[in-house]
């Protein structure tokens, strides 16, 4: 049992939770994830770490409410427990002094980008961060990202806050400024990571993405999270979660993310009916 010691609503559909997990916090590194199971009938889902505090022995998790498991998670409050949590899983982000790095966070992907940007900054890189969301209500952690960035660009798809447009537009502009960009890190919805990779491709800049595949165990056992990297099958859980986006078979990822969409809908409909939820 893992106690939730703090909870905060970052925006209507995104929750922040600080969870007591000292052993995991001691080992956690940027880019890693945990697998959680909320309750006895729950499924196992991966969540990339948004932060950790090894002195306090806590992990920070950020999750967007999209289906049964994330709604269940969101229904928990400070003082409640997450039944199971294991980690830290996956290979940590490669952190070196590259020079200038652009970090792109889209939607809930802003959360896992934060510790990576911080680690890159601490390693002596100049960090340019681009964060974006569909609208103003879905933006969070702007100040937190600013604190670890030399430059911060904020976008909203609908223009309800800051610059209007997708994150790929300022990304392209930054690349075209003529200053050397040594590395790009992009985390967010798969479609955003794909387009960030397409944007950086002509510039030949390594573009690290964190793939959000469906998982069960998270330790290399089930193979549910398999992706194709340059035509070779890899497991996101143990070979990733980070890969160079220029080598990812994005269409395969999109397809495999939808394996259980019918079942997920059925499960969520049932959950909503039981909890008197009419949906968004």
């Amino acid at each position: 049992m893992f106690k939730i010691i703090a909870k905060e609503k970052l925006c209507p559909v995104v929750d922040f939770m600080e969870v007591d997990a000292p052993a995991v916090a001691k080992k956690a590194k940027a880019g890693q994830f945990v697998v959680i199971r909320v309750d006895e009938v729950g499924e196992r889902i991966p969540l990339t770490l948004a932060d950790w505090n090894d002195k306090k022995g806590t992990l920070s998790l950020v999750a967007m409410k999209i289906g049964t498991t994330t709604y269940k998670l969101s229904s928990l409050n400070s003082g409640d427990h997450i039944l199971d949590l294991s980690g830290p899983l996956g290979i940590p982000s490669e952190i070196e002094k590259y020079g200038t790095v652009v970090c792109v966070g889209g939607g809930v992907g802003v959360a896992p980008v934060y510790p990576i940007a911080r680690a890159l900054k601490q390693a002596g890189n100049e960090v340019i961060t681009i964060m974006g969301a569909r609208n103003k209500d879905l933006l969070f952690w702007e100040e937190r990202l600013r604190s670890v960035s030399d430059e911060l660009i904020v976008t909203t798809d609908d223009g309800s806050y800051a610059r209007k447009g997708m994150v790929t537009e300022p990304l392209k502009e930054v690349l075209e400024r003529g200053n050397t960009i040594d590395r790009v890190v992009a985390i967010g919805p798969a479609i955003m990571m794909k387009f960030c990779s397409l944007t950086t491709k002509p510039f030949g800049i390594p573009t690290i993405v964190s793939l959000n595949a469906v998982m069960v165990d998270g330790t290399g056992m089930c193979g549910c999270c398999r992706v194709s990297i340059d035509g070779v099958t890899k497991f996101v859980c143990v070979n990733g979660p980070e890969f160079d986006g220029h080598h990812v078979d994005w269409d395969l990822l999109f397809t495999r993310q939808r394996i259980f969409c019918d079942e997920e809908k059925r499960s969520f409909d049932l959950w909503k009916a039981r909890h008197g939820l009419t949906g968004e």
Partner: protein
């Protein structure tokens, strides 16, 4: 003149009652329903209590088989429980999933008459009797309160559970680390409910806990802590029973299509995560109408029979050799055949074919023929050129076998591994080339049986105990 009467040998094995094939093919309840007391007594009486008791040496954990059978036939179940559990902490599991036909029962003197004592069924009866008679529980052999040296056991499958139980009984303080949220390893994620009810695994795990073993779930060793970190803290020895959890793939086109699962994923979803109870349980599985399972081992049988129980209309097993080479236990093949699983021998997939949505629609296969024996001693399957044909399916399960997870070997300094990822360890003692580290079970042998892993756990426990006794605290 009086004639000496030779005791009459009864060659009629009492059959195991089972659910009817048509019924059981649609539920996840246990297939074999177990002996009644009368059946157990009738079977136990057949044992001739021969002086050589070859059955004991046929058992990888050397259960005192004639003695426990004698107790059964005297209807002294508490004594039977005591004898069994003194050597085997997991009798309810072994009585169900051990391949007795190639172990104790193969060695049985009555085996020469083709009617060996049904040792496994009696073992199961005794274990089940104990569970149903909790209050009359036989006092288990004196369990000294653990106050000895600290030992870490990594993995809570058959090897780890047995090693931990034995070490605890020898008085050591055992901490067992399990990566999953439930203890039992392959017993909970792999073997299906209808062959091994999870409640039984849970109870036998509880028994191991009752011996003083501290089980830490959700602990992915290699990530949460390395073996070297364990050794550098206060653990005097480490046993690795991490199994063979990594799935092998065919590496053919279409293998990443939606609807193509590894047997590990398919079985983990169904067994560990209880997808057969979806949507009461949150984890889903795809229910195929026509399902192809590729492989011929026990895992393939389990996957095929799970697919059927989930509601498939047709389930195929595609195996590249012929029936005689098939590695699955004969009893499981017979069960599958009775349930109308369709076996296609001498076929091997060439590719999986999908639709424009990325879902599997068919598997294209080659016909095979058998050539000369290969390294495994089995005749090597060879492709018949031009023999391609397709089978329409909407789910395929790849059950080719598994290799050890590299998580521990890759994070442990000085552990020797073979090309296939297995850890090098002494067969008799389980000792690895690394100081204070032992290993046993599938992580050493590659995928094998529950009982052989238990045997390895037992031998390692003895070796660890001897080592610890020789060291100063």
């Amino acid at each position: 003149m009086e004639e000496k009467t030779k005791p009459k040998i009864d060659l009629n094995r009492v059959p195991m009652p089972r659910q009817e094939p048509k019924v059981r093919a649609r539920n996840f309840d246990e297939v074999a329903t177990g002996y009644t007391l009368d059946m157990a007594l009738q079977e136990a009486v057949r044992c001739i209590q021969c002086p050589k008791h070859p059955c004991i040496s046929g058992c990888p954990v050397n259960v005192d088989i004639p003695d426990f059978i004698k107790a059964v036939r005297e209807n002294n179940m508490p004594e039977a429980v005591r004898i069994l559990k003194s050597k085997n902490a997991l009798p309810g599991i072994c009585g169900r999933v051990c391949p007795q036909e190639s172990q104790c029962e193969e060695a049985c003197t009555l085996g020469k008459k083709k009617a060996p004592i049904a040792i496994g069924r009696l073992e199961r009866y005794v274990a089940d009797w104990e569970r149903e008679h909790k209050s009359q529980k036989a006092p288990s052999a004196k369990d000294p309160p653990p106050k000895g040296k600290k030992v870490a056991v990594v993995g809570s499958g058959p090897a780890g559970l047995t090693c931990a139980a034995d070490l605890a009984r020898m008085g050591h303080q055992v901490t067992m680390f399990e990566s999953s949220h439930v203890a039992g390893g392959v017993l909970v994620y792999g073997i299906p409910e209808f062959r091994l009810p999870k409640a039984i695994v849970g109870e036998e795990v509880d028994f191991v806990k009752s011996l003083g073993v501290d089980i830490r779930l959700n602990s992915v060793m290699g990530k949460l802590a390395t073996v070297d970190e364990l050794l550098n803290s206060d653990y005097k020895a480490v046993f690795l029973g991490t199994g063979a959890g990594l799935p092998m793939l065919l590496n053919i086109p279409g293998e990443n299509l939606n609807g193509v699962f590894t047997a590990n994923e398919f079985l983990t979803r169904v067994n560990l995560m209880k997808a057969y109870l979806f949507p009461e349980y949150d984890t889903p599985i795809k229910i195929g109408k026509k399902v192809a399972v590729i492989g011929g081992g026990n895992v393939a049988m389990d996957a095929a029979r799970c697919a059927l129980r989930l509601g498939a209309d047709e389930v195929y097993i595609l195996y590249r050799r012929s029936k005689v080479e098939m590695p699955a236990r004969r009893e499981e093949v017979e069960n599958a055949e009775e349930e109308d699983i369709i076996f296609k021998y001498l076929v091997n997939p060439k590719q999986f074919i999908g639709n424009d949505k990325g879902w599997i629609t068919a598997v294209e296969c080659y016909e095979m023929e058998l050539g000369e024996p290969d390294a495994s001693g089995r005749r090597r399957p060879i492709i018949k050129e031009g023999s391609e044909f397709t089978i329409e399916v909407d789910v395929a399960v790849v059950a080719l076998g598994t290799t050890p997870n590299p998580l521990i070997p890759s994070t442990t300094i000085g552990l020797e591994t073979r090309k296939n990822g297995t850890v090098v360890a002494d067969e008799e003692t389980g000792k690895t080339v690394k100081e204070r580290v032992w290993a046993g079970g599938d992580v050493v042998t590659g995928s094998a049986t529950v009982i052989s892993a238990m045997g390895a756990g037992k031998r390692a426990a003895a070796s660890i105990d001897a080592y610890l006794k020789g060291t100063k605290s």
